[in-house]
Symmetry: C2
Subunit: 207 residues, 2 copies
């Protein structure tokens, strides 16, 4: 079965987004990332900021956006109108958007449990990009402007939140090789080579 949809899961700071863009360019197919956030916002009514924060990472209890959405949710429980939490609603809207995008044709989808959401399709190549902490720390300092004093804590918290979110919505363990067709260490290989290797895998699977 040809692999038309490439899902790229990634550790925070591993360069997965950049690799996804490169793969889409090399294959001449659309790349979806921020577009998903925009469409989920339209479908769910939540803000883009809230979706960005809760679409693939478990919320921190100190998150203001989470607390506002959650307060509204708790209020709805009292008046008995909504059995779903705000993050459940984001996940459902996200699942609908990703399912529709995949139906439109070949594409690259980065993050947001797309590997799990599209698990019943046989035309997905599922990829995970990861790297060691040193590589990711340097990357989030230089590219995202993270404060060097906080970088270790930020990374640890983001890794933990992604693991918890993935487990909660998929029932699977985050980062197990068997959930992917290919996993690559971008810290060792670099983003360009990772993209080339993924394209080779797509072309091979499509033989």
């Amino acid at each position: 079965m040809a692999k038309k949809i490439i899902t790229i899961s990634r550790e925070y700071g591993s360069g997965g987004r950049q690799i996804g863009k490169l793969v889409a360019e090399k294959l001449g197919i659309p790349y979806y990332d921020r577009d998903i956030v925009r469409q989920v916002a339209e479908e769910s009514g939540f803000s883009k900021e809230f979706i960005e924060k809760s679409g693939e990472d478990a919320p921190t209890t100190s998150s203001l956006l989470f607390n506002i959405a959650n307060a509204a949710f708790n209020q709805s429980l009292i008046i008995g109108t909504d059995p779903l939490s705000p993050t459940d609603r984001v996940f459902i809207a996200q699942s609908n958007v990703i399912t529709k995008l995949a139906e439109q044709g070949p594409c690259v989808i980065v993050g947001r449990c797309a590997d799990y959401i599209l698990r019943d399709r046989e035309d997905c190549l599922n990829v995970l990009i990861h790297a060691d902490e040193d590589f990711r720390e340097k990357r989030i300092v230089t590219r995202y402007g993270e404060d060097t004093a906080n970088v270790k804590g930020t990374l640890k918290q983001r890794d933990e939140r992604r693991k918890v979110h993935y487990k909660h919505y998929t029932g699977l363990t985050w980062g197990l090789a068997k959930n992917y067709h290919v996993t690559l260490d971008s810290g060792l290989l670099g983003v360009e080579i990772c993209a080339d290797l993924i394209v080779t895998c797509v072309n091979t699977a499509n033989l």
Copy 2:
């Protein structure tokens, strides 16, 4: 740091051994697998059959070889001569043999926790080969002559035993992508392409 030692961990029936041989041929470097068993037998005094069975999979309690070795071990406990179990002794001998082989120069080492044993070296490329159950079941029936009636049970037991052995001797979770630089689904990609992708990774890391 150039990657001179390629360790290939693999799920039972995934073709990791065949891929390891191909990688060694393509790179023109030695391939170690059965040789390790022979050298561990020389170093430890255990039979090749016992080492084959306990070198990377946890023993089954119904294993005759395990029971014979264990009876000797229990006897030694009574007379107070040996605080290590037979499988501990195999693991120690195996660690010594693998460490020495890696010191001799570039090579491919298949299985036997080599990724963990050589964790302090910076010149290892650690690879995991896996595949879905259908692919592996067909492979162990056609290549190893496994009875089709037993194949599902055999596979399940081998997967479980490998997971338990790896956890016991490394403290790590078997199959986590972050423990490897590359993981590949040989069922999707085929053994030849897996070997080519690994060679590309070695050449890239050595740039």
